[in-house]
């Protein structure tokens, strides 16, 4: 029963992923500017440009290019970056972990704090914690994350010098858990703030809604302590609605990483994409966008599975 749901869900992502490859390919191929020129610099001879275009397969028709790309992709070959002089997959793998780390931490931070504060706000509705949280949330969802990042760097990195202003580790003796954690604080907070604020609102609303439901009254009628009513009965039900949104937040966080990685010099895919777009490193951009989209689809799949584990009705339906 459970397996059939997950299986169905897994099979359903295949056509989505296929569509994703088409969109990625089309959009990136439309990017103006000649990659050959970008590789050869300003003073390229037409013959050299033609040669490079041939090497890159750019003289093929668009469908043929797509076919070749997809065929190689299915064999795990993302092509070779002519700007970085190495296989795209190698560069992406090197960049994937930092991005997933940053986005993952931001997602966990925003989910944990978002949900906790949302519960606090709902449970203490209209009391001071609710008011404080509501104001903070309002400011949170109204602040651009890149702007927040700059302010954080300015105050906590430069002025107060509490935390490193950029990078993922110290250049020397770095790389340990503590070191990476310190480097993570500012960028993950900047990235988590907005997503967290959205989750606070959502959780507060969902909790208030669930708390009005009949089964909560039943739980109270059984004499259960309020703590159990809130966390076991109300919260788990609210969570059913929150989990898919966390999946969507993953997209927000992965996309926002483009800004945050740029501002914080984080060695992730987002920053790689910005520079790859500017150097017309088409295969690298396609690979990077594709991997992020895949990651996002997988996270949403996980969210769906988590939701189905929580809610037996979804497993059945």
């Amino acid at each position: 029963m459970l397996n059939s749901y997950i299986l169905r869900r897994l099979l359903l992502i295949a056509p989505v992923l296929f569509g994703v490859t088409i969109i990625v390919f089309l959009v990136i191929s439309l990017v103006p500017g000649d990659p050959a020129k970008a590789i050869l610099g300003t003073f390229a001879t037409p013959e050299a440009v033609a040669q490079v275009r041939h090497d890159l397969g750019l003289d093929e028709s668009l469908p043929a290019q797509y076919g070749i790309w997809l065929f190689n992709l299915l064999q795990g070959d993302f092509g070779r970056s002519y700007i970085l002089h190495k296989p795209v997959i190698v560069e992406i793998m090197a960049r994937l972990f930092p991005t997933l780390l940053l986005a993952g931490v931001a997602l966990v931070l925003s989910s944990v704090f978002g949900i906790l504060l949302g519960i606090v706000a709902a449970v203490r509705q209209n009391a001071w914690p609710d008011k404080v949280i509501t104001v903070a949330v309002l400011i949170g969802i109204s602040t651009p994350s890149f702007w927040l990042g700059i302010l954080l760097i300015f105050w906590f990195g430069v002025r107060l010098a509490w935390l490193p202003v950029g990078g993922m580790q110290e250049m020397f003796g770095g790389g340990g858990v503590w070191d990476v954690t310190r480097h993570l604080v500012l960028p993950s907070c900047a990235l988590a703030a907005v997503a967290g604020a959205v989750l606070v609102r959502l959780t507060r609303g969902a909790m208030l809604e669930v708390m009005r439901q009949d089964f909560v009254r039943t739980a109270r009628a059984k004499g259960l302590p309020e703590r159990r009513v809130i966390f076991v009965h109300a919260f788990r039900n609210a969570l059913v609605g929150i989990i898919p949104v966390i999946g969507l937040e993953a997209g927000f966080v992965l996309g926002g990483a483009v800004y945050i990685e740029t501002v914080f010099q984080w060695p992730g895919i987002g920053r790689m994409l910005v520079s790859a777009i500017s150097t017309r490193d088409i295969l690298l951009v396609q690979g990077g966008v594709l991997v992020i989209a895949f990651a996002y689809v997988l996270i949403n799949l996980l969210a769906d599975i988590a939701q189905s584990l929580l809610d037996p009705r979804i497993r059945a339906g």
């Binding site: 059939s4 169905r8 099979l11 359903l12």
Partner: protein, 266 residues
Amino acid sequence: MSGAVLSTQDVVREFGGGRRWFGTPRPQVRAVDGVSLAVPRGRTLGIVGESGCGKSTLARMMVGLLLPSSGAIEIDGASVAELARTDRKALHRKVQMVFQDPLGSLNPRKTVQQILEAPLRALHGMERAARRERVAELMSLVSLRAEFAERYPHEFSGGQSQRIGIARALAANPEVIVLDEPVSALDVSVQAQVLMLLADLQARLGLTYVFISHDLAVVETISDEVAMMYFGKVVERGPRARIFADPQHEYTKLLLASIPGARQKT
């Protein structure tokens, strides 16, 4: 049966079936399974059954909102399915429906006036002035004050809403009205009002009713003929008096025995 204005012949309706994207077959359900009925003009056919027995599906097929998987439904000798495909307006001028949830059957964003005018314009092509007059007439027919016409549905109680629903059905000037649990959402005192209104309208306008309900006492009160439905099939049908006094089918007997107070009162 001669003189039948509405009749069904071996009507079957299935839901689901087919296959999903990846080949797992979808379960198939036979909601209505070979029902044959006939309603004489000017009379009331009561259809009784518990939830899920297919009575609402049958009702929707009678008014052409659903098409039967097989079998035929005829009104005035014309096929309902055929009319639903070719001339929906003609069909709806003959047969109308009143729904269970009085509020759910009224568009919350329209005034009563707008709700009642829609069939007048669409089905009968009436002019503005004529429509106003007819709406007033309909309102008085269902005992609603004329000034209610400018109000929105949520401003009415359940009983009043159901009167509007009945007025909307009457606006089409139909021969047959299919009433799908029209009083089960209402309080008993209001339920009685609506039942009286329905009886009164039938007497005045010569309407034919198909009255669907799970409430045996209500059906007994209003029907001439009664059909018992169970799992998509009609298990017993006949004149009211016979069914209630001398049930033949085990299921009918069980239903009658289940009525609270029945043992005490009789």
